[in-house]
Amino acid sequence: MENPIVTPSELKTEEFVVNIGPQHPATHGVLRVEATLDGEIIKDVLPHLGYIHRGIEKMTESLGYKQSIFLTSRMDYLSAHINNHLCALAIEKAAQIEVPARAKAIRIIMDELQRLTSHELWWGSCAMDIGAVTPFFLAFRDRERILELFEQNTGNRLTMSYIIPGGVMNDIRPDFVPKLKELIKSIKDYRKEYDQLITGNFIFQHRTQGIGILSKEQAISLGCTGPTARASGLSCDIRKLYPYDGYEKLDFKEVIDYGCDNWARYVVRMEEMNQSIHIIEQLLDNMPTGEYRTKLKGVLKLPAGEYYQRVESARGELGVYIVSDGGAKPYRMKFRTPCYSNLGAVKPISVGMKIADLMANMATIDLVIPDMDR
């Protein structure tokens, strides 16, 4: 038989499909990304969801309003306080419950501390995805100290169920404020270390600058929110646009960058950490005294109707839509989670880039998988 000889001009390349996940360390959870490659260039990205779907929205229909709070901290476990805050706010708005001033202050402090822990963890894991290992340990060291404070005051470290309709579950300890002041001081020192280690790093800058461009128009049409959209120059901070629980009285900046790339998303999150510290400092000096919660009836009933509430989570706009038929259980509870919308940005910013940039893109968007699937 004649041996076919292939000349170089007849060589063809084929597209190649790589499955990343569902058990891949860089996806930070059970997300499967089907990447179509031409050599090293990404042609298409198709994320597959559903590996951690727990049916939280359906489960709330069989639970009371008070009970469904604990489920929400399982959605975005890195910003559990903010998830609880959202549910509590929606129920308070519907049932017209007044919240004491002290409870509001505690809620905001916890929210901002949670944002700090979330961004610190993101900083560590983002740097690890790009190739640095040391930041991960530094990030966990700093996060641990905040979690310790949560454990002492709320009873739990990760899924707190602390912010409830009517206020907070229990009062903060008397040594909370001095301890937090001390902690804030050390967090400020650590922030400088972050800059020394990663922000000024030549390799990190080259891996992020000009990579993963998400234009403002794309961000709007995909429904991106949070730091991902603010890095594209879109003003979408719910704390500024629709203030809740006294954010309107506080002085803080909405961090916006016009870089649109991975570096801009990094810069926005790093600056947001400074803003969170600034918000906490304002509240610590004049903590209101008095009641920490309004006592509610055992079984909470909302008047029939539809209610919507949104808060600014660590990843973007988090919303809940409650339909009540007047009973003790919600007729429907729909969550609008930020990660699900932000996931849509992975494809447009990755197509045309190299496969190694896909990890960097997914890292800077800051995906939390249980938040998408619910």
Binding site: K66, Q67, N153, G155, I164, Q196, G200, F202, G298
Partner: protein, 167 residues
């Protein structure tokens, strides 16, 4: 010439930035005690650093006379999102011939509990509380279903309010 200058500048910046980061690593290498936050967990069992408020296993509070405060009102059972509490009550006849509901078994399914503190919050008598125990794993799941009221325990009598004598 300009391109070469820029290239060399970039290379110099790269080395400086990497050295700057390594300086921090070196600082923690020579002074490790500045950043240690971990604990020697299995070794410090006798003196664990767990907060008093840590929400662990639920217990029914008993005093020295083996008396508890649970009136079997089942409010905690209703408040629990996971059905991890089962209150079994029984009818007993008191001395003056009245029928009264008392607690028979306070069944706690630890395997279903998510430590959300809703039961503690719902209890009107403050009869239950959360301990800060955390080593709860075991080999047999049937041992996780616990009966919290001790054998022979009974309801704590409330001090009787003497009627005011009208003058």
């Amino acid at each position: 010439m300009k391109a070469l200058y820029n290239y060399l500048k970039e290379v110099a910046f790269a080395f400086v930035s990497l050295a700057n980061g390594l300086l921090l690593t070196l600082k923690y290498f020579v002074t490790p005690w500045k950043s240690i936050i971990t604990e020697n967990y299995p070794d410090n069992r006798n003196n664990p650093s767990v907060a008093d408020e840590f929400a662990g296993e639920v217990i029914l509070i008993h005093d020295e006379n083996n008396e508890h405060k649970c009136t079997a009102c089942t409010l905690c059972q209703l408040a629990c999102p996971n059905n991890s509490i089962q209150i079994i009550s029984k009818q007993v006849e008191t001395e003056d011939g009245k029928k009264k509901k008392v607690l028979d078994k306070w069944v706690y399914h630890l395997e279903m509990c998510t430590f959300c503190k809703q039961c503690i919050d719902a209890c009107p008598q403050d009869a239950i509380k959360m301990t800060n125990s955390y080593e709860l794993s075991c080999f047999d799941r049937s041992t996780l279903t616990k009966i919290l009221n001790q054998p022979g325990s009974k309801l704590k009598e409330k001090p009787k309010v003497t009627a005011k004598v009208q003058e």
